[in-house]
Each structure stands twice: as structure tokens, then as C-alpha cells.
């Protein structure tokens, strides 16, 4: 037991590792992802899109696996797969019942196809495993540019559509009456989520994308109902989870996803406890 704990929480040489360029790239990638995912998370939670995000990440995995097989950039493959998924799911709008089943169908097919594609791939096994559980060691400078570019696009678009999107997400009937183009915003937001998901897949892995796109938003919703405070708190949780997970994973040499998911989960538990202690979601 102590052995295992010792392996998991091991800081031997962490300091030296932090000085290495590829580790710094990884930290930068984590920071960018944390910012974007944290901003999106409360909206994903508010729109009840958790399952859609999971489905999107599986399709990003399919795209990445196909890219690996074809020998093109994994990031590009993930983005293509995720955006296709996002457009399909976004077109489904807010009718939850229909949405759930369609997402389930597409997700299962995408995951199966991805596994098949990985099976055909004869390259390094760590590349395969990395797509499912994440491996930021592979984040190089070109990936950083893609990540940064997508972050600018996602945050820039959100800056323009944020208020109508919040309106459409929380109060759809009145938003329609007030002329908000709800049907346009739904696929647009789905694409933004897809892009973020696609970037998260190589870092935290397809299986654990939810740990940065859902948990921070769900945790924040437990302690505040202010959209602004919820966003700030979600960003903080996502950053702590991703950066903390990266640092903790260095010395043990394990994949970061377990660390990220654990930190995010602990933050969620803490927020639940705080929310409960206050008796209710407190004003403000």
C-alpha cells in the first residue's frame, strides 16, 4: 500500500524535469486547455451537454486514431472527428430524449471504429495508449501553436456570443421570443466544445475529457449561481487539476489523466461539502 502510494506521489527529480523544454511545453498546453475548458464548463453543465461532450471526445479519439494510421497530425484528426460529432449533436438542439439516444449510437460506433483503426496501426504502442489516457509528453511546439490558435478562436467567439448563449441556455423560451437565434447558437456552441475537446484528447485522453470539461463546471455550480463567479471558479479548478496533474505525473512517469481526474474530483467533493454546509446554493 505504502509502496503504491510512494510510487504515485513521488517527487524525485521533479525539479530537474520542470526545467526540460518538453515539460514546459506540456505545462503551457495544460494552462491553455485549463483556461478554455474552465470557461466552457459552466455552459456545458448549464445546457446539460455532459453526454454530448463525452460523445464528442470519443469521436475525437476516432479521428485521432485515423490520423495516426494515415500518418498525419493527430491534432488535426481529433479536430476533424470532434467537429463532425459536434455538428451532428448540435443539430439535435435541446430535445434531451432524442439527443441522448443519438449520441449513444454515434459514440458507440465511433469508439468501435477508433479501436479498429488503432489495431491496424503498427507504430509505437505508447502513441495508441496516449490517445485514450493522455500523454502530454508528446506535446511539441507545433501542437502548442494549434492549441493556442484554437484557444483564441474559441474564447474570441465566446466573447461575442456569450450573453445570447447564456440566455438561450438558461431561458430558451424567452430567448426565442426576444429574437435570439437559438437554432444557430446551438451548433455553434457545439463546435466550440468540439474544438476544445479535440485539443484535450491528446493531453488528458479521450476517456477523461470530462474531467476538465464537466467537473469544474459541476463543482462551481455547487457553490455559486453567479455566471461570472462560476466561470472564474471553474477556470481555477481546471487550472489546478491540469497543472497539478502534470507536475505530479512527472516523477512517477505515469499518464497525467489519473492525476487530473483525481484533483478535479477532490475539488468537486470540496465544493459539494461547502455547498451543503451553507445549507443551499448561496446567493451571489
Amino acid at each position: 500500500m505504502t509502496d503504491i502510494l510512494g510510487r504515485l506521489l513521488n517527487f524525485d527529480g521533479t525539479g530537474e524535469l520542470l526545467g526540460l523544454p518538453f515539460v514546459q511545453n506540456a505545462l503551457l498546453a495544460s494552462a491553455i486547455l485549463g483556461l478554455v475548458a474552465g470557461v466552457l464548463a459552466p455552459l456545458v453543465v448549464g445546457r446539460g451537454m455532459g453526454f454530448a461532450v463525452h460523445g464528442t471526445s470519443e469521436l475525437a479519439f476516432t479521428g485521432a486514431a485515423a490520423a495516426l494510421l494515415l500518418g498525419i497530425s493527430v491534432s488535426v484528426g481529433a479536430v476533424v472527428g470532434a467537429v463532425i460529432a459536434g455538428l451532428v449533436f448540435g443539430a439535435l438542439g435541446l430535445r434531451r430524449r432524442e439527443r441522448d439516444s443519438v449520441i449513444g449510437v454515434v459514440l458507440a460506433f465511433g469508439l468501435g471504429l477508433g479501436v479498429l483503426l488503432l489495431g491496424l496501426y503498427s507504430g509505437r504502442a505508447s502513441n495508441k495508449f496516449g490517445l485514450l489516457t493522455g500523454s502530454i509528453v508528446s506535446v511539441d511546439a507545433s501542437n502548442l501553436w494549434v492549441l493556442g490558435g484554437v484557444a483564441v478562436v474559441v474564447l474570441g467567439t465566446l466573447a461575442v456570443i456569450y450573453r445570447p448563449l447564456l440566455f438561450a441556455s438558461t431561458d430558451p423560451d424567452v430567448a426565442v421570443a426576444r429574437g435570439v437565434p437559438v437554432r444557430l447558437l446551438s451548433p455553434l456552441f457545439a463546435v466550440l466544445v468540439s474544438l476544445t475537446t479535440a485539443l484535450a484528447v491528446p493531453i488528458v485522453g479521450a476517456i477523461l475529457v470530462l474531467s476538465v470539461t464537466i467537473i469544474p463546471g459541476a463543482a462551481a455550480a455547487r457553490v455559486t449561481s453567479s455566471p461570472l463567479k462560476a466561470t472564474l471558479l471553474a477556470v481555477a479548478i481546471a487550472e489546478v487539476a491540469l497543472l497539478g496533474g502534470t507536475v505530479l505525473s512527472l516523477a512517477p512517469g505515469l499518464s497525467i489523466s489519473g492525476y487530473v481526474a483525481t484533483i478535479a474530483f477532490l475539488a468537486y467533493l470540496a465544493c459539494r461539502v461547502i455547498g451543503r454546509a451553507r445549507g443551499a446554493v448561496r446567493p451571489g
Binding site: 448549464g46 429574437g179 455559486t224 446567493p283
Partner: protein, 294 residues
């Protein structure tokens, strides 16, 4: 308000006001020869309706008679098949800032990430893309002040920062009124806002709407299947039944004779203790799910 002859409309013989100029303020809502059709089915045709500033018009009729469609036309969400529609002097358009809208009360999830003041604020600039009131301090202060004033006007200041999902149905509906009025509309459209509210809260909402139209001359178009809660406020009734309609004061429209004509069956309107009870309309149209107790 100048006295104005109500436009009396009927599918067969329509008395239009045509181009006769009427003294007094320009109407807040003006429909001329309006027609809506879904496939083969004509919802209404030849509808002429002027709603004056400060006037309260109740829209009644069974389900499927086109009450909500009328609101959608005024909101610019549904184009007319023919005729014209003006709101505050301009053709109806999507996202008009001159319209406030109150929906029917429906429960909001407890964990909805929105406070009362946020809900009201969305009524002010939620439809605007970009920075809205601007990122500057002056713009933000103006926004905050207008939201605070709207909350105060409906007596909701004490729960301004409470999560909307944790408020009672009555409190939520007060916020709906504030959300609709915060943009200072010329026309207030209400779509069954009293549904699923108890009598005390119905009274609160109708009193707030009434106060608004008296103090700010806001025209009110109030879709409801139950006229009694608003009967004291109603200036005119638009009663729609299966393509036929009648417009006039409640005393003229809510009679056994008129409703029998509209429903094409024997309908009796009873007046008891200041309330109207309509008997017979329930069976008039078996092909509709029916709730026409006016």
C-alpha cells in the same frame, strides 16, 4: 386616452377601419387584414386590430385557434400570409426592443446557474451580441441601475441575488414581469402568464401588469384561457374560434349570443358574483383538445 370605436371583426362580415384616420395617439399594435394559414387550415383571416397605448386586450379561444401564433406574429417570429402588422409604428421584427414578453410560469431547475438579477438582466441585453452595454464603467453602472429599478418595481429586491431555481413559482413570475419590463417596452405580450399560479400570485402578476400600463401607457396583449383573473382590467377581448373571431368590449363579446355564433353551437355565458362562466364551449369542438372556459 381618447375614446375609440373598437374595431369589430368577423370572418364573414368584417368592419374594417380602413384608412379612416382616428384622432388620438398612434396605436401600439396595428394589424390590418392579417391572415395566417398552416397548409390548408386558415387560422384567421381579415384580422384588423388596433391596440392603443395603455390598452389591455385579452386574447381568448380554444387551443389551436391561433392565440400564441398571434403573439409570434407580433414578435416577428411568424410572417403573415397576407396583411400588415405594425408594432409601435414599425413592421414587426425579430428581437424588437419595443416588446416585453412574459411566458407562462414553468419550473426552473434548482441548479440553474442564474440569479434573479441575472434573469432580469437578460431581458435587457440578453439578445445583444458583443459587449452589449459596453465594458466601460458607465455602461455597466447603467445596466446595474436599470436591473435594480426593475427588480424594485416588482418587489423582488430582497431576493435579487438568489438562484432563480430556488424561488417559488410566484417569485419567479414576478421576475418574469421585471424581465419583460426592464427594457421599457411600448408593448407587453403575455402568453398565459397566470397558468399554474395560485390565486394570490395571479393577483400579484395582474396588478403589476395593470400598474405598468397605467403609469407607462404600455399596451398589453394578454393571451389567456381564463378571463376572470383579468376581467376587471380588460378593455377589449379578441375571441378566436376555429377561424372566426370577434373583437369588442367584454360585455359585447362575452355573451351567450356572440359565443354561440363563434362556436356554432349553444353556448351560455353566466354572470355570477362578478365572474363569467361559459357553459357549452367544451363540447363545441371535439376535434380539439379543449380548454375554452372563458
Amino acid at each position: 386616452m381618447t375614446a375609440l370605436v373598437p374595431a369589430a371583426g368577423d370572418a364573414g362580415a368584417t368592419t374594417t377601419m380602413g384608412s379612416v384616420s382616428i384622432p388620438g395617439p398612434a396605436p401600439s399594435v396595428s394589424l390590418r387584414d392579417a391572415r395566417i394559414r398552416f397548409g390548408e387550415r386558415v387560422l384567421w383571416d381579415g384580422l384588423d386590430l388596433d391596440v392603443r397605448p395603455g390598452e389591455f386586450v385579452a386574447v381568448l379561444g380554444p387551443n389551436g385557434s391561433g392565440k400564441t401564433t398571434l403573439l409570434r406574429v407580433l414578435l416577428g417570429l411568424q410572417p403573415l400570409d397576407s396583411g400588415t402588422v405594425l408594432v409601435d409604428g414599425h413592421p414587426a421584427r425579430r428581437g424588437s426592443g419595443r416588446i416585453g414578453y412574459i411566458p407562462q410560469q414553468q419550473g426552473m431547475p434548482e441548479d440553474l446557474p442564474l440569479r434573479a438579477a441575472d434573469l432580469v438582466g437578460l431581458g435587457l441585453d440578453g439578445h445583444r451580441f458583443g459587449p452589449g452595454f459596453g465594458l466601460g464603467l458607465a455602461g455597466r453602472r447603467e445596466r446595474r441601475e436599470r436591473v435594480a429599478a426593475a427588480l424594485a418595481a416588482v418587489g423582488a429586491t430582497s431576493y435579487a441575488s438568489s438562484p432563480v431555481g430556488r424561488l417559488s413559482g410566484g417569485e419567479q413570475q414576478r421576475l418574469r414581469v421585471a424581465q419583460a419590463l426592464v427594457g421599457d417596452p411600448a408593448v407587453l405580450l403575455c402568453d398565459e402568464p397566470l397558468l399554474s399560479l395560485d390565486l394570490a400570485h395571479q393577483r400579484t402578476v395582474t396588478d403589476l401588469v395593470d400598474a405598468r400600463r397605467r403609469t407607462a401607457d404600455t399596451a398589453v396583449v394578454f393571451v389567456t384561457h381564463e378571463i376572470n383573473p383579468v376581467l376587471p382590467l380588460v378593455d377589449r377581448v379578441l375571441y378566436l374560434v376555429d377561424g372566426r373571431f370577434r373583437i369588442g368590449a367584454p360585455d359585447e363579446v362575452m355573451t351567450s349570443e356572440t359565443l354561440s355564433e363563434l362556436y356554432r353551437t349553444d353556448v351560455e355565458v353566466l354572470r355570477t358574483r362578478g365572474r363569467l362562466v361559459v357553459v357549452g364551449a367544451e363540447h363545441a369542438q371535439d376535434h380539439h383538445h379543449h380548454e375554452a372556459h372563458a
